[in-house]
């Protein structure tokens, strides 16, 4: 009995402390080191933050380079699929374009009217934007995020909105010197205040970790109201982070189970270039 315990202790000691073959560090040293890094990282220790920023700078660029071949094949696959569906897409787009042209006329009028009304109440929405390239869009279950090639060098700050064309995509959560990380709307931790139009209901869209979001925390019960309607989800502007009226996604209330599902307008898997935008909403009151 004592002998088997001795064997166990010897095996454990040998496994952890012996620097076998060409190992430069013992296993125990490295395990301790990683444990210390985790602990210090959780307390936002300055040195660990600097190490992290340093690693980020190198790793994000390296990851972008390493992923070039597979991204080429991924894009090729998408292009082939698009070519296969060309005719169907053309017919669909032709109808959509006709409808949109009609809508644009009334929309132009509304924009003018809106601007006049803003002038009347002395409210201004100023925005600064810059284009950024998506370096890495690694899909992880912990974090739905993208790495952009603009950082503190380009005046990027935490909380800035990320927009794909005119659709909201996410916000900046981490800024390094030459790059930054943006949290996508689909992330589990993403929660943004929205407005369900045309019902005018305030709600919060939460990410699900998948490619869609869900409606949470509505002030009113909306189940009955959305029956058979197409609901467009816009940012409400609450919290002052995003400007009101940025299109987020669409709710299709045909399926009873998927009633609170928001299909985002932007396809987060195909982001190449995005716009980093900061808003300054001023009021004369």
């Amino acid at each position: 009995m004592a002998s088997s315990r001795d064997d166990f202790v010897i095996a454990i000691r040998s496994a952890f402390l012996k620097k076998s073959y060409q190992q430069k560090f013992s296993l125990l040293t490295l395990i301790f080191l990683s444990f210390i890094i985790i602990i210090l990282g959780s307390f936002n220790f300055k040195a660990i933050q600097y190490i992290k920023i340093g690693i980020n700078e190198v790793v994000y660029r390296s990851s972008f380079i390493v992923s070039i071949p597979e991204n080429y094949f991924k894009n090729l696959n998408i292009k082939i699929e698009e070519h296969m569906n060309l005719y169907n897409q053309f017919k669909k787009i032709e109808i959509e374009l006709k409808n949109l042209k009609e809508k644009k006329l009334s929309n132009d009028f509304l924009v003018l009217e809106n601007n006049k009304l803003r002038e009347l109440i002395n409210e201004t929405v100023q925005s600064e934007d810059m284009y950024a390239k998506v370096l890495v869009d690694k899909d992880s279950p912990y974090l739905k995020s993208i790495i952009l090639n603009k950082g503190s060098k380009n005046n990027v700050k935490i909380g800035m909105a990320i927009v794909d064309n005119s659709y909201l995509v996410g916000k900046i959560i981490e800024v390094n010197y030459t790059n930054s990380r943006a949290l996508l709307l689909s992330d589990l931790n993403s929660k943004i205040p929205v407005l369900l139009e045309p019902l005018d209901i305030h709600a919060v869209v939460s990410g699900t970790g998948k490619n869609h979001g869900v409606i949470e925390y509505t002030k009113d019960e909306y189940d009955q109201k959305i029956e058979g309607k197409e609901i467009i989800v816009y940012t409400s502007g609450y919290g002052g982070l995003f400007k009101p009226g940025l299109p987020v996604g669409k709710m299709i209330a045909e399926d009873k189970i998927k009633k609170n599902v928001v299909n985002f307008f932007s396809d987060f898997r195909q982001l190449d270039y995005v716009k980093i935008v900061s808003y300054d909403i001023g009021s004369g009151n």
Binding site: S14, Q23, K24, L33, I38, N56, V59, S140
Partner: protein, 172 residues
């Protein structure tokens, strides 16, 4: 003379192939660990580390495993040090297994892998969910652990072939 140099180069390249695979798997955008296929994913890095450190730790140094873990944390976006800790725990189990095993046996190794995956993933889930308050999908972890266990024999077969090639090159 030139053929001698060429052989040395090929030998060194083959020797560093497991390290290359490890860094490629953590740096790549397409990760087997987070495939977009419903109910299918496996942890390639776990299999790779388990196999090569169990077989012969010369191929994968603990330092490079530690570094790969840090890179994985940065790319995936989890607290820095978490993956390194998990990877090194696998190394600890394999080092222990190497010390107590006289004759390696596939079934024993396979069962040990199941135990290791469960241990490492449990630690990761506990630390992410309870300490860092990062929401994790438990079902995904169970599926991931299952497939990592099931697919091990396939990778064992492939890695055995690779190891034979490395050994042949070394003996030439």
């Amino acid at each position: 003379m030139s053929s001698l140099n060429k052989n040395t180069l090929i030998r060194s390249l083959l020797f560093y192939l497991p390290v290359f695979f490890l860094f490629l798997s953590v740096l790549n955008e397409i990760d087997f660990n987070y495939l977009e296929i419903k109910y299918f994913s496996f942890n390639f890095a776990y299999i790779l580390i388990f196999y090569w450190t169990l077989k012969n730790p010369r191929y994968l140094s603990y330092g490079s495993i530690f570094l790969a873990g840090l890179i994985n944390d940065v790319v995936v976006g989890i607290p820095i040090g978490a993956s390194s800790f998990c990877y090194l725990l696998i190394c600890a189990v394999t080092a222990y297994l190497r010390n107590i095993t006289i004759t390696p046996n596939f079934i024993n190794d396979w069962i040990s892998l199941a135990f290791t995956i469960l241990l490492v993933n449990s630690i990761q889930v506990i630390s992410l969910d309870f300490i860092f308050s990062i929401e994790v999908n438990y079902l995904r972890y169970i599926i991931n652990s299952g497939f990592t266990f099931i697919l091990y024999p396939i990778f064992l077969f492939l890695f055995n072939i690779l190891e034979k090639i490395i050994k042949i090159q070394k003996n030439d």
